[in-house]
Every structure is written in C-alpha cells, then in structure tokens.
Symmetry: D2
Subunit: 163 residues, 4 copies
Amino acid sequence: MKIRILVTGGTFDKEYDELTGRLFFRDTHVPEMLRRGRCRVEVEIETAMMIDSLDLDEPGRAEIVRRCRASPERGVVITHGTDTMVETARALAQANLRDKTVVLTGAMVPYAFGSSDGLFNLGSAVSFVQVLPPGVYVAMNGQQFRWDAVRKNTASGVFEAIA
Amino acid sequence: MKIRILVTGGTFDKEYDELTGRLFFRDTHVPEMLRRGRCRVEVEIETAMMIDSLDLDEPGRAEIVRRCRASPERGVVITHGTDTMVETARALAQANLRDKTVVLTGAMVPYAFGSSDGLFNLGSAVSFVQVLPPGVYVAMNGQQFRWDAVRKNTASGVFEAIA
Amino acid sequence: MKIRILVTGGTFDKEYDELTGRLFFRDTHVPEMLRRGRCRVEVEIETAMMIDSLDLDEPGRAEIVRRCRASPERGVVITHGTDTMVETARALAQANLRDKTVVLTGAMVPYAFGSSDGLFNLGSAVSFVQVLPPGVYVAMNGQQFRWDAVRKNTASGVFEAIA
Amino acid sequence: MKIRILVTGGTFDKEYDELTGRLFFRDTHVPEMLRRGRCRVEVEIETAMMIDSLDLDEPGRAEIVRRCRASPERGVVITHGTDTMVETARALAQANLRDKTVVLTGAMVPYAFGSSDGLFNLGSAVSFVQVLPPGVYVAMNGQQFRWDAVRKNTASGVFEAIA
C-alpha cells in the first residue's frame, strides 16, 4: 500500500541558523527520517509549504485540503505544526474527502535536536494511516484521535481527548 | 487504552562496553525511548529477558508465550531480536491467545547508536497494537505483517511478505 | 592541574522550549559535556550568568572580569556567545590578570542539537588552557587566537585572524 | 599552521554492521567529525590502516612510524585504538622524529554512538598538536601525557600518569 506524506513545515522541520541564532525552515527532514527508520512503506513525499502553523491562513489551509483531495493515494500523512493542527484537521473533515484516511502529525521538538520526538511520531503516523478507516485523525505521542475529539492543551503542550 | 511492552532484548537494547569493546545488554532503553517520544499511551513495561534472539531457546520462547497470556492488557508489544522474531511470532500464534493483539518489533541498529531505527519502529508498534484486530503481527520499518505472511530476508536484512 | 570553567551562556547552552517554540537558557550543559568527553582534567564549574552575548552589557562584562580575577585556578575557560566574545576578551586583557591563562570558547550550534560543534570546541579550549602561556585567547573551531589578533566575520560567522 | 591526521582505526571509527550485528571498520569518520567541529585548522587526512589496535603488529607499527616521518607537516595527530596506544607512542619516540610534535588520541566509545567521547578528544588532540613542543604525546579525556609518562589502566579503562 502506497501512502503520501504531505509536508507543511512545523516544529518537525525547524533548523538552527548559525548566523542569526534563530530557528528557520529549509528543506524537510522527512526523507532523512524515513531513511533512518529504514521505512519500507512505499511513500510519495510532497512539500506543500514550509511554515510555522501559527502563520497558516485560510488560503494556505485550503491549499492543504486541495492537495489532499488530489492525492491518488488513499492514505495521506500530513506533517504540521502543532499549534493549529486541530484547525487544519477540521478543515479537512469538513471538505469531505470520502474514502481517504488522513493522519496529521508533528513534533514538540525539532528533528534536528537530539531529543526530538519526531521519529517516534512519524513511525506512529505512517502506521496509523495504513490501518485506520477513512476519516481525519491527529496522531501525536503514540495516540490517535478523531479530528473532532481532540484539542491541544496550550498550557501543557499535549494533545488530549475531548468528550 | 493501556498496553503492555514485553522486553526480551535484541538489537534494540544493545550497548557498547567501553572496557571490552563489545556489545552487551544492560537495562532496556524502552522507558527512555517512550520519554523521548513523549508517549502518552498508558504503558506497562515488563522485562522478560535481555538476550540476543539467536540465543533464544524453546523454554525461553515458552516463557514469552506464558507472559503474553498472563498480560491483563489486550494489546502487547514485544521488543525482540530480528533473527528469530518470526519463530517467536509463530509460537505465539500457535498458543492461541484469543482476543489479544500482539505486535513484535525490533531494530536493525541499537538505540544507543545515533542512526538507530528503533524509535521509529517503537512508534510504529505502539500504534499498530492499538488498532489491529486480535492476532500476532510483526511490525518493522513502518510495515506490519501477519505472523504467517512474513520472513526475514537474511541476505538483505529486511522483513518481506511471503505469499 | 586544576582549571576553572566560567559559564556565561551563549549558543552552547541554548535549549528548545517545547511550549513556545523558542530557544532559551536553563541550566548549563557543560557538566554533561565533560562527562560525555570523559574529561579527566580536574575542573571547577562556575555559572556567572546565562545570557546571549548580545545582551551582555558593561556591568556584566565587569562581572566576568571580576570572577576571572578571583579564580584560584590559573587556567580559566569561559564559555561565551560568539557575537561579543572578542569584546569580552579585550576587557579581560585590559584588566591585566597577570599570570592567568584565559581561553574563551563557544559554539555555532547549541549542544542540544545533534550537529553541534560544542563538544569539539570544549575539548579544544580545555586543552589550550593547560598549555598556552598567560594571556587571553579565543579558541574556536580548533584554532586559537590572541585576544587582539582575531575578529568574528559576521558575514561568514567564522573567527579569523587579523594582522 | 597545517597539520596531518593519520588514521589507524580504533574505537573512534567502529561501525555497526546491520546484517551481522557486529562492530566493524569501513571508512573513517574523521572528515565528518572535523566538519561537525567546523574545524578551521588546515588538515591533511591520511588513512594508514583501519584496525583494532589489539591487531596492530610490529610491521604495522613500523608503517605508522614511517608515515609520521614522511609527513611534511610538523604536527601529526594519530587516531588509534586505546589498547596499544602507549606502545605505538613508544615506537614513535624511539624512532626519533626530531622536530615533529605527534599526538595520539582515540575514543572509549565509537563516534557512531550518540554518547561518544570522540569529538571531544579530537578537538583536544588537534589543539595540543599546535602548541606542544616537539615530542610524542598521548591526548585522552582532555589530558595530555608524554609518551613515557602514561599507561592505560586496563581495569578502569582510563589513561593515567606514571611516575
């Protein structure tokens, strides 16, 4: 089963700029992460944008929906900043993508940091997308939530189920 | 949903002995890996043994089966050396564990190495075990296989589907 | 020979804040770095401040001079942000610390990043401080410069000799 | 000042063989380590051999001496296994290399492991070689010893001064 990974940026892909001392985006780390995980799932990687999800506006969100809809693969993983991941999940669900399984994932710490949770989350999202029924999900920290059953707790930084 | 992780050793947990220059087993890295993945799944970790799976004999395999059967959790991840992972999967399947979902996983490179696939595989196994129907599976490199549909290709080192 | 390491912050010690997505200072990584280097030099670690060297003002610089002067050890390594490292070196030289050998070092990439140069630079500075004659030096990227023979090239980010 | 790094293998350069689960030698990591340290010292890297120093015999040791003597650079760092580093240092000292400064270094843990001391030691050796007077030295764990003033304590694994 072939899947698509749609890259939008987020903490996952932040890098350290040696000259300015700031975090910035360059290329996605997803291919390197899949190599490190020796991932044997057939994967098509598509970079939609490389931004902080706080900077994602409605046209950007519509662009993500459009690309998901256009994906020939039924399983789509979206790497996404955590701050507005739930909003994008909602936009995707409301777009009614029919038989597609869409799993949004991200990281609390950039992959370029030694202590990143990114590789764990990517392994998790790539797995969930293959076996979950059609729908839109958020996969973080080993858990998966339906798009309308999760929120990011901004105080603790973790994703949690809502009733 | 609470899951159990049954640790048996394998490449996952090999460490470098500074005095002898050899690889050896000490404590499992699974708790550290779950912390790094910021895993929020409720997990009970149980160390059954710490061995190279080439050294796993029938009594050892029976012990793994016994502990799986005794697990109060319905989802069990087993960290295991790759060389005889499929044999242990078969023993578990033949033991008929009923409504349990058992997922065996491992690593090609020890977690203590910077380039390890372990964190990716653990994220994957923890995810598959929550959503796959009862049965015994091998989860490696982002893929999952039923116990009787997989073999390790000893020439290439990868797990592949068999017809 | 016992040496002192005076910590002032800088890129060396920047960490990633999971909640805000910004870099910040918490505790110094110097003890962890010395453990990783299995450093057997007797070392006294003293944290003077934890700041970006762009935020270091004259009172702060005077405080560094004061602590260097007060050090009972003749060899002092100072971990320091690279942006104003040369200014602090000048202040130390003008303070005339007599028989002390002072070596300032830093990093282009935080130690918490996998790709950091910090461990290399710390190994270098700890070595130079033991064998260089009294004076004030900057040690970066395997090189050492007298305080009045170096500048940071702000375009390229590297330290270079000046005539 | 240009220096030469003569690579002989040792723990520094051990890698993990995914198929056999054993440690082995392939290419040296020294160039990658210098890049990571953003080393700006002009360096010529020469691989003499890639072996465990326990396997180094007299012809091999003579080959190291020959290459050191032939080096046009006056400063030579030798990366070497720790088990017989002191023997090679003695052979070099007895060969009377005149005005050359030779610094042997190594690692307790392979660079490919996350917890390696290699980068710290390489930064240290590259620094010592630039400032120590002609002679043969062992640089480990931030310290430097004259060739005839050091031994490896095989029980603790550390290098220590002898009277």
